[in-house]
Symmetry: C2
Subunit: 357 residues, 2 copies
């Protein structure tokens, strides 16, 4: 299949236009689009424009509200709980992160639990807002269940990512953004397209047996947690902070992203949940000191003895930062199936396709 | 080899006496002992009384200060940085956690970075202080380097544990306490005693090659991070929060626990570092609501469909809570080699051995 190249601004404007056509305000559409396309820029193709139609279908099914009224329903000097009014996490997590940053300015740290939300794209897009304020940024979200806990054959947890980022001085920032499953669904899709077997410990069959089948999820199987029971614990931590603490749904009750699957009955909470935080570096030590020590940390790890001279030791976030620079300059490749989904959106909403490079 | 049974109070008093003989105050010795023996109670035998001689040797080598003067060197309403004056983490992390709890009472959350400290035993002993206050507890620490980052053959990170605990209502609390390496050193020692091969992905040889050799660490090899590069990211996160943020050492510079290995020259910080936090549940939603939802969460996971009927789905912290009840009642088993190390301490310090059960 072919790939098409688009300029960043083309994908951004197209997404903004689509959101606005469906009733989103100019301001909200600008924020949500920027956070969605940030995934494409950073090379996380599964979470970017490829999901635009998913968000629109959710809105058409009245499971996402493109014109939400965010409400702070609980608050202390360092915390808040936000009801996102069924808005997109692409927008609400940004709002929550700004609130966390404001609180950190006042009392050192800020923490916002968000309920009644929808998927928020890549966690890094939100957490990284903290970096330019010389703060540590944190963003977590739960997601619809695909992962089985240890000894279970049932899907109970989402791929529940953890993102934390630390500012540095000369070196690019340290940005960890990882699913708590062994592999995210996007990696299975790549193996499917290439007709390849999966590494062991990525999935299990619906009976809970070991499997290398890239199609196992479609056949009722489940993703496995990162490294076994510890990954189950980490996924559970993200679920509890994002879902139980905020008053959102959690575990098996997190509503599915795809509009053709219905949420379960008797939900214990509202929508899906996120948890975001910001910690001012200079609430602990002078920011300049911290950032020069981060440079030293990064430098030491990059220079640590390699197993294979040709394989560098990578710093979390470094490959994505490089990809971002390159894609801003040379354009963003869009897979043919994603291109076709954009054409459907364009036709359906009566908007123009962006120009190919 | 034999095992000997001791009552909890016997091990506790013995440890207190040993610490006091070496100059620790009555109050500090009580706190440090309680946190050390909590490991034995919870079944984490590698981190309890087995390490008492290690702490004493560190003090004799003047690398640990048994009479420290803790200083808060930086502070905001929700944060503090503590200089532990080379005290034991068994004591300083408790102090830091109490401070975090006080701050959380005032402004919703409290976060304390600790520098110039020494090893703190099990993370759960500190984090769990938050539970009885209806708070979420968090405790992280860095440790001397044993783990290689992805693509490196050098030891750059400790087993850097993450502990987070959440209060519940009827069910036992959720307590995740995990190393960010695939396996902690204690599991290698068990395999060594049993003459067994290790599972793959636990260690690599000094050349960075795959290995199942339980003695690989002694031969210059390294532990591997949990599930590959994601575990490297998590271990790095713990190192940066504990070491870089606090002003402690980090990465390859974290001083070794064993007194016969010397710290490197030109250290970038002071001692080892911890990071602890407390978040008031009712800073986000009413505590009773949260705790009944935690019960529902735990119940749903315990009831999720089992792969093998005989293998229950476990909740993090549940096995340790059960072990604790049993060991309080029936006594704590002490391995012969550990028993002998206690005899050496008793003779060296002129204190009485506790009575065997």
């Amino acid at each position: 299949m072919s790939e098409y190249l688009f300029h960043y601004n083309g994908l951004l404007s197209f997404t903004e236009l689509a959101f606005r056509k469906q009733g989103m305000s100019v301001e909200a559409a600008a924020i949500a689009s920027k956070n969605l396309i940030e995934a494409d820029l950073r090379g996380i193709d599964s979470h970017g424009i490829a999901r635009l139609n998913g968000y629109i279908w959710l809105q058409k099914a009245e499971r996402a509200n493109f014109n939400p009224n965010f409400k702070i329903i609980h608050e202390t000097p360092s915390t808040a709980t936000l009801d996102a009014d069924l808005g997109l996490g692409l927008h609400s997590a940004n709002f929550g992160m700004q609130l966390a940053i404001e609180k950190a300015k006042q009392v050192g740290t800020g923490w916002v639990a968000i309920q009644n939300s929808n998927h928020f794209g890549i966690a890094a897009a939100h957490a990284m807002l903290a970096l330019k304020e010389d703060m540590i940024g944190i963003a977590l979200t739960n997601a619809s269940p695909l992962v089985s806990p240890t000894h279970s054959k049932e899907r109970m947890l989402g791929t529940n990512p953890i993102c934390i980022c630390f500012p540095s001085n000369i070196e690019p920032a340290f940005v960890l953004d990882m699913a708590t499953s062994a592999a995210a669904n996007g990696k299975l899709e790549i193996a499917q397209r290439q007709g390849k077997h999966l590494p062991s410990n990525w999935v299990q069959s619906k009976e809970g047996l070991a499997s290398n089948n890239a199609h196992e999820l479609k056949e009722g199987g489940a993703l496995l947690p990162l490294g076994g029971h510890k990954g189950y614990g980490l996924g559970a931590m993200v679920d509890i902070l994002s879902g139980v603490l905020s008053g959102a749904n959690y575990g098996p009750w997190v509503p599915p992203f795809v509009s053709f699957l219905n949420p379960l009955a008797n939900l214990p909470g509202n929508g899906i949940g996120h948890f975001v935080g910001a910690m001012r570096i200079d609430a602990f030590r002078p920011a300049a000191e911290f950032k020069s020590n981060m440079d030293l940390w990064i430098d030491a790890f990059k220079k640590s003895a390699r197993i294979d001279e040709k394989q560098p030791v990578l710093i979390p976030g470094e490959p994505e930062a490089k990809e971002r620079i390159q894609r801003l300059e040379k354009g963003i490749p869009v897979h043919q199936l994603v291109f076709e989904s954009m054409q459907e959106i364009a036709q359906d909403l009566g908007i123009e396709m962006p120009k190919k490079l």
